[in-house]
């Protein structure tokens, strides 16, 4: 192992996984949204639900495809770049990842085919079941991957054999490690919020451009409902997760809050420039005592600072501190958007008539993605210098490959991902700009069938 290969491998993993998480965080929510739309359509027979389904399923197909192909990369990259990690971790989390493939990936892939292309091959009930199974598959996938990650953050239920190898001692403790429930809830809510923000933004954009049609009015109101309920709930779940970090990963918490000294009455830094070289903050804007209060529940509580940990055991502070603030700041804005929308629904003619609100909803469209990536930066960079917390250092986890190969692959990933990302986003934005169709009801278009667009133009 050489040092450059380590840094390049870390960059490559960070880049490929940050790219990948964009798509699941959208499709987990979108799959559930589609299942709800189709269910509502079947029950109410309101055509607007069907048109919304047909519209969003096209966007789902693009996003899901990008999620699949960028996900395959990860299942091989653990071996190409992190072979020591693979060999050490497999006895414990190997089954978790295998179960993800067996319980989620096949289910999603197979029923996605029915969902997209089976519109005329199966009855409405079976089609709805397929949509629902895809939605369930996305949630099962999140379950296993968060389970594996939670174990890496706070390993429990394992034993160390005489030769140093790990072995699972209690599978329930491995799968349901103590921080898992909060992490899983946090991720699923994040995915739902991300989707709601995109749906809200697309609906608001449509209303701004075309006036309030049934579909966009419905989409906007469903999104507002999600902001108003899920965003505050997310703050609550996030706080629970934070309390656990204080308990099981105190160094990460100190980095999140840029605490250097161990003390009671820690101040809360609204902004700071933490500097590892001087072991302090170059500047800070702080509120006295609030830091202890929100992290430990009491202003007089003693909270550990980074100086309590040897320099080689401290996570990077600057990036963790700021990623956390970006995440929480966006979360607060989401709550604000929910309150605003709720108030407009309750006290006015409706949110459709408030242009400032509609523009705010459009502006917040990408906020979920930024918040999700920031949150994962907090979780993963905050776990450094470990890959498996307290057990395996990242520097020891890397494959015996050279810097030359890794720089070539990193460069290739950057080029290919830049192309598919910009094209994918372009096509999705184009679809959003076109908006849901309100065609004559006799046109039965297979949902998401990419060939439909071509044949429709050609048909007389």
């Amino acid at each position: 192992m050489d040092l450059d290969a380590l840094i390049l491998s870390r960059l490559q993993f960070a880049f490929t996984i940050a790219f990948h998480i964009i798509f699941p965080s959208f499709t987990i929510g979108l799959a559930s949204f589609l299942a709800v739309l189709e269910g509502l359509w079947l029950v109410t027979k309101n055509e607007a639900f069907k048109q919304l389904y047909l519209f969003w399923v096209k966007i789902f197909a693009i996003s899901f495809g990008m999620g699949v192909v960028s996900g395959v990369v990860l299942s091989y990259q653990l071996g190409t770049n992190w072979s020591v990690f693979s060999a050490v971790a497999a006895p414990v989390i190997g089954p978790l990842l295998a179960f993800e493939v067996l319980t989620a990936f096949f289910l999603e892939a197979s029923f996605l085919g029915v969902m997209l292309f089976g519109w005329k091959k199966v009855g409405p009930g079976l089609h709805f079941t397929s949509t629902a199974l895809v939605a369930v598959g996305t949630l099962i996938s999140a379950f296993w991957i968060i389970s594996a990650n939670s174990w890496m953050q706070h390993p429990t239920g394992y034993e160390v054999l005489p030769d140093g190898a790990l072995r699972a001692a209690d599978w329930m403790q491995v799968i349901f490690s103590p921080t898992f429930p909060e992490r899983f809830a946090h991720m699923v809510l994040a995915a739902y919020l991300t989707t709601a923000l995109v749906v809200g933004a697309a609906s608001a954009w449509r209303i701004l451009k075309r006036g309030a049609e049934d579909e966009s009015r419905l989409g906007l109101r469903m999104a507002i409902g999600m902001f108003a309920i899920v965003a505050p709930l997310q703050l609550f779940v996030g706080d629970l997760s934070g309390k656990e970090v204080l308990e099981v990963q105190p160094a990460k918490l100190a980095a999140i809050e840029a605490f250097w000294e161990t003390r009671t009455e820690q101040p809360f830094h609204i902004a700071a420039w933490p500097d590892r070289a001087t072991e302090g903050n170059r500047f800070e804007i702080s509120i006295p005592k609030l830091g202890s209060l929100i992290t430990a529940g009491s202003a007089s509580a003693e909270v550990k600072g980074l100086k309590d940990f040897a320099p080689q055991d401290r996570p990077p502070v600057f990036i963790v501190f700021w990623a956390f603030r970006v995440m929480v700041g966006l979360g607060l804005l989401m709550i604000g958007l929910g309150l605003w929308g709720g108030w407009l629904l309750w006290r006015t003619r409706g949110p459709e008539y408030s242009r400032p609100f509609l523009w705010a909803a459009v502006a917040m469209g990408p906020a979920g993605f930024v918040a999700v990536i920031s949150g994962w930066i907090v979780a993963e960079v905050g776990r450094q210098p470990y890959t498996i917390y307290g057990i395996l250092r990242t520097a020891d986890a890397v494959s015996p490959v050279g810097a030359g190969q890794v720089s070539a692959s990193l460069l290739a990933f950057m080029i290919v991902y830049a192309v598919i990302f910009s094209v994918g986003v372009l096509y999705i934005l184009r679809l959003i700009a076109e908006g849901p169709e309100t065609p004559p009801p006799e046109v039965e278009e297979p949902p998401g069938n990419p060939l439909a667009a071509g044949t429709k133009g050609a048909a007389p």
């Binding site: 072979s83 693979s86 295998a98 067996l102 892939a109 029915v114 091959k121």
Partner: protein, 341 residues
Amino acid sequence: MTLDLPLVWAGIIATAVLLYVLLDGFDLGIGILFPFAASPAERDVMMESIAPVWDGNETWLVLGGGGLFAAFPFAYAALMPALYLPIILMLLALILRGVAFEFRHHGRARGKAFWTAAFAGGSVAATLAQGLVLGGFIQGVKLDGKGFAGGPFDWLTPYSLLVAVGLLAGYALLGATYLIWRTEGPLQVRARRWGWIAAGATAALLAVVSVATLFVHPRIAIRWGFDGDAFDLPTLMPLLPIPLLGLIGLGVVVLGLRRAHQATSLIGAYLVFLSGYIGLAAGFFPNIVPYDLDFRDAANADNALSLMLVGVAILLPAILGYTIWVYWLFRGKVGGDAGYH
């Protein structure tokens, strides 16, 4: 009765990889044949024939990789760094061709042309990369203990290039025979012609690769009773049904290409692949990383293997069940006005 868990798992992983090759083989093959289609409409039909199933097919690759990680972590940890560049090439190529399924239909003129090329180029590159991985694997991987200890280009030899070209022909054969099954009219006529060419190339290259393997890799040659000059019949005889299966497969391909309009030639091509697959496995079993790591030494902890086996016993029949159901649902000829629009 106690189960030989590593052996059972070796069987499961081998089956997953085989299913991957047989299933994704034809949809990579359709990408390889893409440039030879007569019209954009014909390309649409070719893609339509695999659009509902390609994602499920590729999932077997994830099971192969993820399963190797979970069941034989030491093999995974040795093979992936050893085959770093072809694996990355395969992943990148699969990305380009995978997104093309959707992107091709959302692009305007230039976009569509680009993603048509990306689908074809990605399919060819992914196939060649898989061939290089296979060739590099058969050549053997230099180990120090259980970890990879070779160089970045160990996999790149004339032999691995030969295997890569052979796989290209083989996947093209799967693609062509699949199209004969799933299409009709002029496209089917064309697919039949592609089938003849691909079948000839596959047969020739398979023969060349087989002979090259015996000369290049003495350990495999010994397994087949070949000492460089002559075969030792008692060693060879029990293995003879394997090449025989390949020959029968080729016969079935020819039969199907001449007359049948359904899956006959595809089944023949599957028999050829099966023969090649078993033939290779016979060459290096029980090594899982040729030629220094036994599958037992590479296996995961027993309690992990047994937990996963319970999962597989319940889930794999369900997966096979709904996969077959999806194929049955989308059965029949696609294309022209017989589509599902």
